[in-house]
Amino acid sequence: MTASFGRGRAAVAATRDLICGIALAILLCLAWGTPARADAIDDTLARFASDKFPETEKAIGELAASGATTAAAILDALGENRLLFNPSTRAVYYKDAAGTLFDAKTGEKAGVEAGGLKKVRLNNAVRGALEAAKGDMSILSPDPARRLAAAESVFKSRDQSAFAKVEAALAKETDTRIKLAFEQARAALLATKVDASEAQRLEAIATLRARGDQDAMGLLEAASATAQGAVKAAADSAIASLNLTLAVWKNLQNVWYGLSLGSVLLLAAIGLAITFGVMGVINMAHGEMVMLGAYTTFIVQEWIRAYQPGLFDYSLAIAIPLAFAIAGIAGIAIERLVIRFLYGRPLETLLATWGISLILQQAVRTGFGPNNRDVGAPSWMAGSFELGGLSITYGRMWIIVFTIGVFLALQLVLRATPFGLRMRAVTQNRRMASSMGINTNRIDALAFGLGSGIAGIAGVALSQIDNVSPNLGQSYIIDSFLVVVFGGVGNLWGTLVAALSLGVANKFLEPFVGAVLGKILLLVFIILFIQKRPRGLFALKGRAVEA
């Protein structure tokens, strides 16, 4: 479920990037439009306006070679029937995807009505020329991103006709990353090129082997099928080694997904581990503390959008302390107003906190509506990168980093502060701690505040990968409990191990049995596990816990 929402959000991010990119391109066009080439381009553009297919074809070739700043935009527009001309003045215009009209020569906004303009028509020959031109233009484009994309596209399409251009581009290229891409594109072509020499082929195979992904694998298989002798042997050995690496990467990717899921579970569960561990209190409203954190993020972002748009990238940093405070105060209030009166009656506490969770859910539903609220991702959370054969999204990565940070900070609080010391004392032996002069009431309230506050900051993180709705908390509560119980009460490391191993197990099960059945299997596993070891993986022992 989470994954698909994540994907939806990624798609949104991608379109947003695209729009930004286009806007940026336009801006650049405006700034660095080169008047020197103006005359040559006038002639070229006039060909478009002649409304004849061969002329159009010629214009395409010229335009691609001209290096004009508007060339790419014009060709794109042509391909999508957005290139227009004025039959009388022979001026050429293009529309962008949004429908705004631009002057083809200058790239500036055109001050004319689209009404009197005619479309530049296309036929198959024109389309062919257009495709070729686009490819050429991209391979030789001054824009590095375009060149990179072009190299990838050649790699994938294995279009032999591009061989010469790739060679040329390779000779000129200075950017090492793009150079590598061109080398790989060249290798892709050579691997299947009929007239390639054996040396060239071997080199190509080596390059592909170094690339080491699924595409390289396909090419190597093709090469192995057609070649013989040393080349075939090289290809086969490359295939064998790639198979192994690919399998390793695939498993690593699963581990990564699992860690990512596990860190989310850990974030949601860790606050619970504190309240349950210290007080033996089952706080069914814990999920709603997470929800409060997520809504805090939403409010912070709304405020920033309205008053300080420049701060958007800092929205999460602002939301974290606020969410901690809000959820923490809510937690302390719940403890002081309700739970305090129910100590020693864990089942009643469970029921009362369930009631509180219903009230909080409904309150948020009344206040913010029942629908999902849109919480945006700051720019540094968007996008992804490749690490070897792993594809890693920044969002997930930061959440893992954040989780580790929270976990360590919490360990620090518990180990190195007087409050932490007292809290551990209460966890281990409440009666003894109390007779040593520790104010257990205060510790209870603070521990509850701490646990709830952490749930709040978990909400900030979860707002980035899940829907922010009044039901947010409900979807985590059962999982969180199972994590805590599985890990063993009163032991944060147990919670850590439990969350991560459940996350990883889940991701390894999914490909085999599907997401839902995987989850069911894990639930069944935990149910059976608890029955074998009722106190969890790493249980505290002793009389205090037996009660």
Partner: protein, 377 residues
């Protein structure tokens, strides 16, 4: 020995009310003309029939929670399983009258392009077999679950959490189409039961009476169990489980027995519920449903049986009222109910009233020593 009559005053009143309802309500619905003030409209029958099923579920839950201290957050699962067993019978009764007119397969299977009836569905065209399953499926699940849980001494909140996980796992499972129980949509569009149209008023009135009688029988069974020495052992387990072991009682067997019995009662409640509401779908497995059933018991007074039934009816009446008049506020009210009852009315309505009466009586007799509430340490 303390008075060990099967029916005390409270129980007798309860029994009379149920018997009267079982007889009079159908008469008032069918024989009394609609214009008369004594006429009971069809929707009231449907609604109260539903409440009675909930009341039976509450009695079942009270038996394990109130008397044995097992707070099950998964009793909704047993209720739903009983409901599914009945729903499967009702589906098979549709026969060729479905949209796809397939005499063997329910519509949703035809829709999924299935050609054979899954094994789990075999036999459900027989009412007797369906009734057996209504008892057996929840019973076997409870037995298997309890076998592991009680033997390994999972107690208290741990037990509550895994019962919740159990119903949650079933919820996820029943959502899947390939489970073969109608997936998301569940089972619905029932036509008739034992040849009678489920929608017809006489059938509805009969189902109502049956629900009242089932509730009474369930109550009597629960009452007999709790009045026996077995029941005393249950209470002993609730109060001091390990002490009971040291007296030589096999606590796990007691728990297993009462848990299974209770699950079967919940299954019967679900089976009566389904023909009256006309649908059963996976949402019946939602953990929230099971917890709601717990609050019925708490409101009425746990460990009182009659109170559980009263609590179920009261809370659901409130729910019907709120969701009609002030839908926004129902969850506020329910949430507040959870908090207030646990804080201020731990014995529930019936328990508190009973305590008041007992105190008065004791005051009259002149004996001292009212009970100190048991505080676990």
């Amino acid at each position: 020995m303390t008075s060990a009559r099967l029916l005390d005053l409270r129980g007798a009143i309860f029994a009379v009310v149920l018997i009267a309802a079982a007889i009079l309500v159908p008469i008032a619905a069918l024989a009394v003309p609609p214009a008369s003030p004594f006429h009971v409209p069809a929707y009231v029958i449907a609604l109260t029939g539903k409440y009675l099923c909930y009341a039976l579920l509450a009695v079942a839950l009270d038996l394990v929670w109130g008397y044995c201290g097992i707070l099950s957050l998964g009793h909704g699962a047993f209720f739903a399983l009983g409901g599914y067993a009945m729903g499967m019978y009702l589906m098979r009764q549709i026969g060729a009258r479905g949209v796809y007119a397939n005499p063997n397969l329910p519509d949703f299977m035809v829709f999924l392009n299935w050609h054979d009836l899954p094994v789990a569905w075999w036999g459900f065209n027989s009412f007797g077999y369906a009734l057996l399953m209504v008892l057996a499926v929840p019973g076997v699940l409870a037995f298997a679950f309890g076998w592991f849980a009680f033997r390994s001494r999972v107690t208290g909140v741990y037990l509550s959490i895994i019962t919740q996980a159990m119903t949650y796992a079933l919820l996820l499972a029943f959502f899947r189409n390939d489970m073969g129980f109608g997936g998301n949509n569940g089972l619905t569009d029932f036509k008739d039961i034992l040849g009678w149209n489920v929608q017809a008023e006489p059938t509805r009135a009969a189902l109502f009476s049956l629900s009242a009688i089932a509730l009474l029988i369930g109550y009597l069974i629960a009452r007999a169990v709790t009045m026996s020495k077995f029941g005393k052992v249950l209470v002993a387990i609730r109060d001091a489980e390990s002490r009971t072991r040291f007296l030589g009682y096999r606590v796990e067997n007691y728990k297993l027995l009462v848990f299974t019995l209770s699950a079967m009662m919940a299954g019967v409640a679900g089976a009566l519920y389904v023909p009256q509401v006309g649908i059963i779908n996976p949402s019946e497995f939602a953990p929230a449903n099971s917890i709601e059933a717990v609050i019925w018991v708490a409101v009425g007074g746990r460990g009182t049986l009659v109170g559980a039934a009263i609590g179920a009816v009261l809370v659901n009446f409130g729910k019907t009222y709120f969701t009609g008049a002030l839908p926004e506020y129902w969850l506020f009210a329910l949430g507040a109910l959870f908090v207030l009852v646990t804080l201020f009315l731990p014995k529930g309505i019936v328990g508190t009233l009973g305590q008041l009466f007992a105190r008065e009586r004791r005051a009259a007799v002149g004996a001292r020593g009212n009970r100190v509430p048991a505080v676990a340490e």
